[in-house]
Symmetry: D2
């Protein structure tokens, strides 16, 4: 995904006052979460113990949707989108990733996909925090 | 879209303490915004004065993405998703719809698609407010 | 969702040779499917017999994603998107909705959400067929 | 994005007869396209010559939506989704990425973001072809 670094340098207006590293990391972390939450929900669904993984599946699906929207908003030049709007969305994304990490960690010992997904969500929490701090 | 009312009654666990009318209205308003913001961005892009409509197009695209995620989270039974998470997402959605309504209203006299889209965004702001108040 | 009819009339370039009624119906049917498939997947997940509904949940999620993309592409003025591209996407969408209808119909006697969702998917199959015939 | 390789090994049912390398490459290529097409559309929108880039913006947005759906369907265990459905979606995705690559290449000499995006789209065409060949 070196394409994120490449594209960030090609925008005719640049990225303004935004911290390039923090922005890049947050876009990447969100894209990773979209994938890992979608894949973890599906893997949970195939487990024999699916009935015990209902909350995990639902939280995964919610987290994938919110990270998806956040990745797309961050992929646009933050000219029109005010800092306030960005903060509000990043806070919602951070909260959802935190909830998903907590849920996946409950099953991390039993299911490797939950362990992997929890780590991806933790990375996204951190990336949101760092971008929020840099705004 | 009577399907929203129908589906809300079929969930095996019901919708818990949620206000059914407020939930239904918010799902519908978000789905409408996804469509109208996508269509308005595209109509703006076809206007001769596209260069003056850049902020409108970008805000439309951002708004469509955030409403999309909100509609999907609301379409799920709010069992695992805590009230706090839902409030955070609804606040981000409300803020984005408000920003998009304000932007579209600047061009509503010139472009009917902006007028229609502004009204859809205003309805979504209200629907988010009502659901937030009912949580 | 009268907003679809309204917006279709506001585009500066019109909708070209496309059949307006067929286009409108297909956009609406896809939006309905995004909602009903997302909601049906979640309702299935809450059923006691969730283990028997795995295929239904997965097909619902896939169908929601493909209808989502189709609704968005159709929401744009079909100027740049060639007829060939549109046909290819509509065929994929039609096939996915057909598969989802067949899967949901297996459980329609037991679960009302599957019965409702099957009907929504059938309507989308028809709407895709009508738009394909009109292209 | 090593998370894709990691997750593919954690699914309780494995990936069946699918070619793991081809599947991984196609998921990654689709995720890259979602990002690069979203970012290229936004960069085009900021160019002084935005009026000449309308088709490029629209094709970018369409391509992002179709790659998004394809990435999500591929992120799920292809148990319920038949080979035929997967082929239909991959063909639609391949066609859209090809159209977007052709469009972006028209502006690649002028705009680096179009050059980068064209390459991402070309990689996705190849990745779809390889996965289609492996099905």
């Amino acid at each position: 995904m070196t394409v994120v670094s490449e594209m960030l340098k090609t925008h005719p207006k640049g990225i303004g006052d935004l911290d390039e590293a923090a922005l890049k990391n947050c876009i990447l972390a969100c894209l990773e979460c979209v994938y890992s939450c979608t894949a973890c929900a599906d893997a949970c669904l195939s487990e024999e113990t699916v009935a015990e993984l209902r909350d995990c599946i639902q939280t995964n699906l919610d987290c994938a949707d919110v990270c998806d929207a956040t990745a797309k908003v961050l992929s646009r030049h933050p000219g029109a989108t005010s800092t306030e709007l960005l903060m509000s969305l990043l806070q919602a994304c951070r909260a959802m990733c935190h909830a998903c990490a907590v849920e996946c960690e409950k099953h991390g010992d039993m299911h490797l996909h939950c362990e992997v997904c929890a780590k991806t969500c933790r990375r996204c929490v951190e990336a949101c925090d760092e971008l929020l701090a840099a705004l």
